[in-house]
Subunit: 135 residues, 2 copies
């Protein structure tokens, strides 16, 4: 079973977001174990990690699927993904990342970022398995 650790600054307060995240975690449960961690000091983050960065690389879901499967393979089926706060991550934190990934040039709330991230993880596995979720 592949494992992903998603590190961010705070808890999910909104009920709708908790429900949405739970829905995608449930759908992913056969292929991916998700661990949410709260970060108090990004400088103490253990490498390697993928850093979400609005100015990072924007890729399609198809390319993402290939890339993630490859990164899981090279990382012993484990990945860590870091979500910054409203101001994004410091340059020093970005510099230590294995990949600066941008979900979009648009700025999202970090709550919304979690949901988009989870949906894209689900979509990545759906693409890799050839399921009908992604057409």
């Amino acid at each position: 079973m592949r494992k992903v650790e998603i590190s961010s600054i705070g808890k999910t307060k909104e009920t709708w977001l908790q429900e949405a995240l739970a829905e995608y975690e449930k759908r992913l449960s056969n292929v991916l174990q998700i661990k949410w961690t709260i970060v108090s000091d990004f400088k103490k983050l253990q490498t390697p990690y993928i850093a979400l960065d609005v100015l990072g690389e924007c890729i399609s879901s198809e390319t993402l699927s290939c890339k993630l499967i490859d990164l899981f393979d090279r990382g012993g089926s484990r990945l860590r993904i870091v979500i910054g706060d409203a101001d994004g991550l410091d340059e020093s934190i970005l510099a230590k990342s294995m990949w600066r990934w941008s979900l979009s040039p648009l700025t999202f709330t970090h709550q919304m970022t979690r949901l988009i991230l989870l949906e894209q993880l689900y979509r990545s596995f759906a693409i890799a398995s050839g399921s009908r979720y992604h057409k």
Copy 2:
């Protein structure tokens, strides 16, 4: 009061999504009136409209804010935005649009697209008014 009509193919079934959309509609209620319409035949769409297209133009939230305010001004405070189905919109529908806008090179569900769109509309007005929502 500015008005936006968002046209897509289906209703919002998920409870969490209904709650999330309601939250952003409430936040927008002082500045923007939102009308959701269901489209059975995209070819009958009235122009002008903005077409969401994964291969369209990707811009930052700051640029989007300027662009949308300008489009509202030029459109008599009205805009129509069209969301396609899982396969996106036909080329003939895209060709008639005033702007092909991409939220991201990533593919999203059309449910998620609605939520991201509404959050970005809210963010656009927050940027234009200098509110602290967007830093």
